[in-house]
């Protein structure tokens, strides 16, 4: 090969390496940016008067006087809509039967769309579920619902070779010549006056419990459950992990037993997380009966086993990183080995050990598979500290899965799901970031 080609190859080799790091950073961005962007939307958004009605009724929050004046002004514009509806209903009665049947079907679609937009219409029975008591609480959702009201979505399946294509038909055309045709332009023009969108800062998303399976309200039970599980796991795993690390670094003599223990440790680190969940179910719940069925304590124990090897490894590294001179100085002053470990080595290694602990805490908070069978429940309120031995808890990680994949209206509450993901990612990344900062400071300090 000639020199030029070799040079090109060398450069492109470098480019591939740098490129793959850039791709990794991009991947991180691509995953994190939509989560952050949409997740922030759960707290900061353009809320409608329906949102404020909901807050007043469910959490008795907000200025009730101001709200009633708002409701009055929005009702002024809504009244005209209701008027048109009653007018059209009267018109329906006068129509020929087959024509009436045709319009009736279309009209009931319009009513459903209006209910979704504005809440229950006059004459509707009081809805059973809270989610139907209010119209759209978020302006961007209201705009989607407005589109649903103005246009009927249909599927074009004429070509069997390709997937059906969605297209929209203007509903107003369907009501041409009736009194209802005025409704569509009216709503299109006056929706803002009916819903009164306003920039909203809803901190309650973090501190409230959910209303009607996360249609409204916040995610506090999940956040609290996550903290209970993660901290519970740390309470078990951290002391055990540090003690085991002290044994491995200070006392273990090379030999069969030691290498076996180390193998066991790395095996434990490699066990798939779902298997921990099965083990937690089979051992802690079905055999040890630490609780009747799922409970926080069973989940915390399972998570503790999962993070134990990480803590052991991190603590070992931290202890080994303590300079030899510390140890020698302490021993030369006449202190025993035990004393040296307790008063010199562990304090010096403590920041490093804490770093490992913080990272493990993040891992315990984010892991889902081990708690599916042992601790997680999809709906529920925040539990008290006394209940951790008997009752399961909702947790961020599990509820993200549950809301995104199993909730009956998963696509309608995307903002809640994004908010949860952002909360979880923030918790985990903040923990990791603090660990990174901590570690950078230690390495500076140990270098002197």
């Amino acid at each position: 090969m000639n020199i030029g080609t070799r040079k090109i190859l060398d450069r492109s080799f470098t480019a591939v390496g740098i490129g793959s790091i850039i791709v990794m950073a991009l991947a991180l961005m691509i995953v994190v940016v939509p989560i952050v962007y949409n997740g922030i939307g759960a707290v900061f958004f353009t809320g409608t008067v329906e949102h404020r009605k909901m807050l007043q009724a469910e959490f008795s929050r907000g200025d009730s006087q101001y709200l009633s004046s708002e409701v009055a002004s929005s009702n002024r514009y809504r009244a005209k809509v209701y008027e048109m509806l009653t007018g059209f209903e009267a018109e329906l009665e006068t129509m020929a039967p087959e024509k009436k049947a045709e319009y009736q079907a279309k009209y009931s679609q319009v009513r459903t769309a209006l209910q979704a937009l504005l809440g229950p219409l006059p004459g509707d029975p009081e809805p059973m579920l809270t989610r139907f008591k209010y119209g759209q609480t978020r302006w961007e959702k209201a705009e989607e619902k407005l589109h649903d009201l103005l246009y009927e979505s249909k599927w074009d399946n004429t070509n069997p070779d390709v997937m059906g294509k969605e297209y929209f038909v203007n509903r107003a055309i369907g009501f041409e010549g009736t009194s209802l045709s005025r409704l569509f332009p009216y709503i299109n023009e006056n929706l803002e006056k009916m819903l009164l969108p306003e920039f909203t800062l809803y901190w309650g998303f973090i501190t409230d419990s959910s209303v009607d399976s996360h249609f409204f309200g916040g995610i506090w039970p999940e956040i609290q459950g996550t903290f209970f599980l993660a901290i519970g796991a740390m309470l078990f795993a951290f002391p055990l992990g540090v003690v085991a690390a002290v044994y491995f670094t200070e006392y273990a003599r090379p030999g069969f037993l030691n290498s076996m223990l180390r193998s066991a440790n790395s095996t434990l680190a490699g066990v798939p997380s779902i298997v921990f969940g099965m083990f937690g179910l089979a051992f802690f719940i079905n055999t040890m009966k630490v609780s009747e069925s799922k409970s926080v304590i069973a989940g915390a124990l399972t998570l503790a086993i999962m993070i134990l090897p990480t803590i052991i490894r991190a603590s070992e590294e931290a202890i080994l990183a303590v300079p030899k001179t510390y140890r020698e100085a302490s021993l030369s002053l006449g202190s025993t080995k035990w004393n040296t470990i307790a008063t010199v080595i562990l304090p010096a290694a403590l920041p490093g050990i804490l770093t490992g602990g913080v990272i493990s805490l993040g891992r315990a908070a984010g892991e889902t598979a081990p708690i599916i069978f042992t601790a997680a429940v999809s709906v529920g309120s925040a539990i008290g500290l006394a209940d951790v031995f008997s009752s399961p808890t909702p947790a961020l990680s599990w509820n993200i899965y549950n809301l995104a994949s199993e909730h009956e209206a998963a696509t309608q509450i995307r903002h809640v799901q994004y908010g949860m993901v952002l909360a979880l990612v923030t918790i985990v990344l903040l923990l990791n970031l603090s660990a990174i900062v901590l570690r950078a400071r230690i390495s500076k300090k140990l270098k002197g």
Partner: protein
């Protein structure tokens, strides 16, 4: 022991320790060490317990249904009466996404590791490492949510164009490189400089045109593909590869760092470029460590639950044709997670035990690959220290 005897001789010394106190100290020391040891031993006990308790609930399945159905049939109807428990398609799905993620993550991860250990200056490396750690720290359920809510609709709506652009962006630089190298290699033997140059240019133009046509043809074929479901094996493989990357990068970087400076400098001294040094000397020296990294990364992908559960489509069948990554699949982990709630625990049915059989399979695979990777690392350390 020598210090003790000195202490015994100088009884008049101020540091006198009575015999009783010394025995007490000894007992305390032994007890303390014993306690430390028992805590360390707890890890081994936990591992044994995990094997025992998973196997205990897995064995009844094989007693009831035997081995052959589980491994050879792909009829998975656990809810029927009597149920069918053929897990072949599920095992295949697991292997498929694992292999798919490895195909993306291994080249990228090794390249990134090389870049981190040999190419980038130290100051940049300091910023790259936290990025990788962050990638490792993001909870799997967040990745799963991203796959399900962002990536899957994107694939379903714009699958063809996405594939086309991915092909063009990823493959065109490599194709260009291949053209240059092939043209160079084919003309290297021609002695006469002028003729060689002419040949070289002709080959470059010819191969360049050929590869252009290839690129566009394949790109347009990809553009025509319609992805019927966004929750498919490709989606999962992509996300799993991101999750396996941090492990692969950090472990292989350690392996590359373990190869000493002297080997690198020797290669440079012989006139090799950096790429040649890395490919011909450093990678072979670090190969076993990199293999261990790859095994660990693959295990992360195989054992991952949430992403595959949310974004693989959970359909238990072997794709047609077998390498079709655009079809929905189902994996072992997702089956365990999804079916445990419905499986009847109380009566101890085959439906419950089959999930533990799957868990046992995962456990055994992870155990073996862990042992293998550990052996490899130990051997590499020995070889490198011996040199």
């Amino acid at each position: 022991m020598a210090e003790e005897s000195v202490g015994e001789r100088n009884r008049s010394n101020a540091f006198v320790v009575s015999a009783r106190k010394r025995t007490l100290q000894k007992v305390a020391k032994t007890a303390g060490e014993g306690m430390l040891f028992s805590v360390a031993f707890l890890v081994a006990v936990i591992v044994l317990f995990i094997f025992y308790f998973v196997a205990r609930d897995a064995i009844p399945f094989f007693q009831i249904r035997g081995f052959s159905e589980f491994f050879t049939s792909s009829n998975w109807y656990p809810a029927d009466e009597p149920g069918e428990f053929g897990a072949l398609a599920i095992i295949y799905g697991s292997l498929m996404v694992t292999l798919g993620s490895a195909m993306i993550a291994v080249p990228m991860g090794v390249a990134a590791a090389i870049c981190l250990s040999d190419i980038l200056p130290f100051s940049i490396r300091q910023y790259a490492k936290p990025v990788i750690e962050m990638l490792a720290a993001i909870p799997s359920v967040a990745f799963g949510f991203f796959a399900l809510v962002v990536l899957a609709p994107l694939m379903q709506d714009h699958g063809g164009p996405l594939l086309m652009w991915a092909w063009w962006i990823l493959v065109s630089p490599f194709l260009l490189l291949a053209v240059i190298v092939i043209a160079d290699l084919l003309t290297a033997n021609i002695k006469e400089e002028k003729r060689r140059q002419r040949r070289h240019w002709m080959l470059l133009i010819f191969l360049g045109l050929f590869s252009m046509i290839l690129m566009f043809k394949v790109g347009f074929v990809l553009n025509g593909i319609q992805i019927l479901t966004g929750t498919n094996a490709l989606n999962v493989s992509l996300i799993l590869s991101f999750m396996a990357l941090p492990t692969i990068v950090s472990v292989s970087e350690d392996a590359l760092q373990a190869v000493g400076r002297d080997i690198r400098e020797g290669s440079y001294a012989l006139g090799a470029t950096r790429a040649e040094t890395i490919i011909k000397t450093i990678l072979p020296a670090a190969s076993s460590g990199i293999l261990a990294a790859v095994i660990l990364g693959i295990m992360r992908a195989l054992g991952e639950t949430m992403v595959v559960w949310m974004a693989s489509g959970n359909s238990s069948h072997i794709p047609q044709p077998w390498f079709n990554y655009l079809e929905a699949i189902r994996t072992l982990t997702a089956t365990i997670a999804g079916d445990m709630g419905e499986a009847d625990q109380v009566t101890g049915s085959a439906r419950f035990h089959v999930l533990f059989a799957m868990g046992l399979l995962l456990l055994i695979i992870s155990f073996i690959s862990n042992l293998v990777s550990e052996r490899i690392v130990v051997r590499q350390r020995k070889i490198l220290s011996g040199q």
